[in-house]
Amino acid sequence: MCGIVGLFFKRGAATTTLGPLLAGMLSQMRERGPDSTGFALYGEAAPPGAFKATLRAPDGGYDWAALEAELANAFQVVCPARHYDSHAVFTIGSDPEPVFAWLGQHHPGLDIFGFGECIEVFKDVGLPDDVASRFDLVRRAGTHGLGHTRMATESAVTTEHSHPFSTGPDLCLVHNGSLSNHNRLRQFLRREGIRFQTDNDTEVAAGYLTWRLRQGMSLTGALEAALADLDGFYTFAVGTRDGFAILRDPIACKPAVLAETGDWVAMATEYRAIATLPGAATAEIWEPRPATVYSWHRQ
């Protein structure tokens, strides 16, 4: 099972309509994935020379203010940190690598769920309405977002194993299905310098795309290469800083529906998630073809 949703506004600045619409879509997918819920938002960009990182503390009651003070000593904290339950978003005036090295040394218990110019990633065990409310999704802005409700089949039900998986700057992936060659591919990608935090198959697909993009491929090119290199069942939805893409495996094992209007593109595992969007009734609606990359970029 599992449910995927994605909503991509084709133009305009980050809007507060994104959060409530994405929350409504996720809510419709609760029966498909009662184990955990996650979402990625592409929000306001960090200032030039800075990046955003979404950190997650495994234990409750984490002292984010103390971490912010420590980070401000070691680096430049550009904007006040925002806390949402177990997650916090920091905007730091530095390259990411030194910050991650510092975090690894001083706060090894923290997870980095996403980083980049715009991306923020939130995920946790629980039903979509509960998780959305935990992270205040209805009040969150963005230009596009992806979400996932998980019914685990392949690896453990934990926050770390929840989707979306983000393995490179501003890239994230949600997946319905399962991959069968992820172990060997993970070994190969590790040698290529891609970092993995779990034994999850989807994280390998995200890492694969990060590797291909790093080689200079376009998002479409990276997904076309994935058709040859990934073995298994999948419907993928992928987000980048200014892009959104969908790919299904060659026999289209897992369901998917796309809808497009002049203003937005939406993807979901079932149409009922799209039905909640304004203009859905008159949108163009179709099932994406197998082994075909669909992608959009912001104008």
């Binding site: 026999i251 079932e270 149409y271 009922r272 039905a275 609606i285 099932e287 197998p290």
Partner: protein, 227 residues
């Protein structure tokens, strides 16, 4: 005209009302609004009523239909008119995969495109698709007719038994044991009749016919006594 608003009423309530219609009742015309992608709308109908659904439906709409005429004024999700017995089901938009799967009779019309596995295991249903069909359509088809006005995806008619497939556009590839066959005047008339019933404008003479080469059969009727 009886109108049911699925924003106010559940699919189960709608279907129970449709199932309670008696042979002599006068409730012949139903309109369903705000379907919002709900699953299993208007399944299991057994009396000759007209049901018009205004909007997009989820999975298994009009499944097991017998005698009723169901129209979806929108897109249909997976498994439209699955196991249809008789009557008709029409979709004005596109249909997701496995439309008319295992249908035994009746007519299914998809005015737009149908996705993969359209007419999978068809057993007598007539299917008319105004656009294209996806891969493995009419897989293991046993009886009935699939008419495709556009293109067909790869592995058309894979492992087909006896159904007839007519395609006006390009066929990406034929599946195991599916071959092109001669089109007779009877075939042209049959397709023309189905297009007329489907109210889809297309020239019946443009269609090519595909069906079983009968090389995968393990059972041969001439040797029935030996089994």
């Amino acid at each position: 005209m009886i109108e049911v608003d699925l924003a106010q009423s559940s699919v189960r309530e709608l279907n129970q009302r449709l199932h309670r219609i008696g042979a002599g009742d006068n409730e012949h015309h139903w309109r369903v609004v705000n379907p919002n992608g709900a699953h299993a709308i208007a399944v299991g109908l057994t009396v000759p009523v007209n049901v018009e659904i205004r909007g997009h439906v989820g999975y298994y709409c009009a499944g097991m239909n017998a005698a009723a005429d169901v129209v979806v004024d929108g897109h249909a999700g997976t498994g439209l008119a699955e196991n249809i017995m008789s009557g008709s089901v029409r979709v004005r938009g596109n249909a997701a995969q496995s439309a008319a799967a295992s249908g035994r009779g009746g007519l299914v019309v998809i005015e737009g495109d149908a996705s993969a596995r359209c007419g999978i295991l068809m057993k007598g249903v007539a299917i008319v698709v105004g656009g294209a069909v996806g891969h493995m359509s009419a897989f293991m088809g046993q009886a009935g007719t699939l008419v495709v006005c556009g293109d067909a995806g790869r592995d058309l008619g894979d492992s087909i038994y006896e159904a007839d497939i007519f395609v006006a556009g390009d066929v990406a590839s034929l599946g195991a044991d599916c071959v092109e066959k001669e089109v007779t005047q009877t075939d042209v008339e049959h397709v023309a009749g189905l297009l007329a019933r489907a109210k889809i404008a297309a020239d019946a003479r443009r269609f090519r016919r595909y069906g079983s080469a009968r090389r995968l059969y393990n059972f041969h009727v001439d040797r029935a006594g030996e089994y």
